[in-house]
């Protein structure tokens, strides 16, 4: 059990980091939309085009790593298997 929990914790931590990296490595807060600026050819006004786009921020990465750490911590509640 102790070992299993640590493996789960490691997987959770790695998955959190991998997802955060894969979805843009956003070092700000989580965003649910992305704003792209386009230029109107006649007026030359730069205008925003808002698109739905999930980009997890540092708080989402932090939450994933904290859950991972909590699971790893929980593993210490179980006694290691006695060695034969």
């Amino acid at each position: 059990m102790r070992r299993n929990l640590r493996v789960v914790a490691l997987l959770l931590g790695l998955t959190s980091i991998a997802l955060w990296l894969a979805l843009g490595a956003n070092r700000g807060w989580t965003k649910t939309t992305r704003t792209e600026m386009k230029k109107d050819p006649i007026t030359e006004i730069d205008y925003p085009v808002i698109e739905k786009d999930f980009s997890p921020g540092v708080e989402a990465l932090g939450a994933g790593l904290m859950i991972s750490a909590a699971v790893a911590g929980l593993s210490f509640a179980f006694k290691p298997k006695p060695k034969n």
Binding site: R27, G28, T43, D46
Partner: protein, 202 residues
């Protein structure tokens, strides 16, 4: 001779009157490009957002740009930031309170230091800026670009375009926008960048 001269002079006078008359530009742009970009500092990252619900009218005379008057209105509900929770707070009672104060407005009172060259006018615009129900007089640099007969290229109708640009800053404490609170989290100063185009079909 008189039969020819009088109508000709009349037509000339009418043409001169028409060319000197101010043109009313409608800023409810059907193309939806009109926008305000706002930016304020915060510890983790700067908060950048946009507002696109622009309307209003300006009366602009190409022969006398210094006499421009009018009012620009921005729907507070159109204020947008990328973080959903932040947007909820922005629209909420403590910040913009968009339910009670649905509009941000700028009423142009006068233009000073007016310089015009090749259809581009720069000036210092003084007017009444209203946010969250608080009105204050501000002066901001503006650039007005008059695009004669350019509406056709944009929407197929005969007419003119007027592009207005301005960059200025306000203090949220001046307008009671969560005044005096959380300045360690969100800066008191908000930078605004206005880029809007008005249409005047003929």
């Amino acid at each position: 001779m008189t039969r020819i001269t009088v109508p000709f002079l009349g037509a000339l006078a009418f043409a001169a009157f028409v060319s000197a008359a101010p043109i009313s530009f409608d800023f409810k742009d059907p193309k939806g490009v009109n926008n305000i970009v706002f930016k304020t500092d915060a510890p983790l990252e700067s908060i950048n957002g946009t507002a696109s619900g622009v309307s209003g009218t300006l009366s602009f005379n190409p022969e006398n740009p210094g006499a421009t008057t009018g009012k620009i209105v921005v729907a507070a509900k159109s204020l947008h930031v990328g973080n959903a929770t932040m947007k909820e707070h922005l629209h909420g009672e403590m910040w913009m309170n968009v339910t009670q104060f649905p509009e941000l407005t700028f009423e142009l009172v006068s233009l000073k230091n007016v310089k015009t060259e090749a259809g581009v006018t720069t000036a210092d615009a003084t007017g009444k800026f209203t946010a969250r129900g608080v009105t204050k007089e501000i002066t901001t640099p503006v650039k007005l670009t008059y695009l004669k007969d350019k509406l056709k290229a944009r929407s197929g109708k005969d007419g003119d375009l007027l592009v207005v640009r301005s960059n200025f800053a306000i203090k949220r404490s001046d307008y009671g926008i969560n005044a005096g609170k959380g300045e360690d989290k969100v800066s008191n100063e908000i930078e605004l960048s206005l880029s809007i185009a008005g249409i005047a079909p003929r």
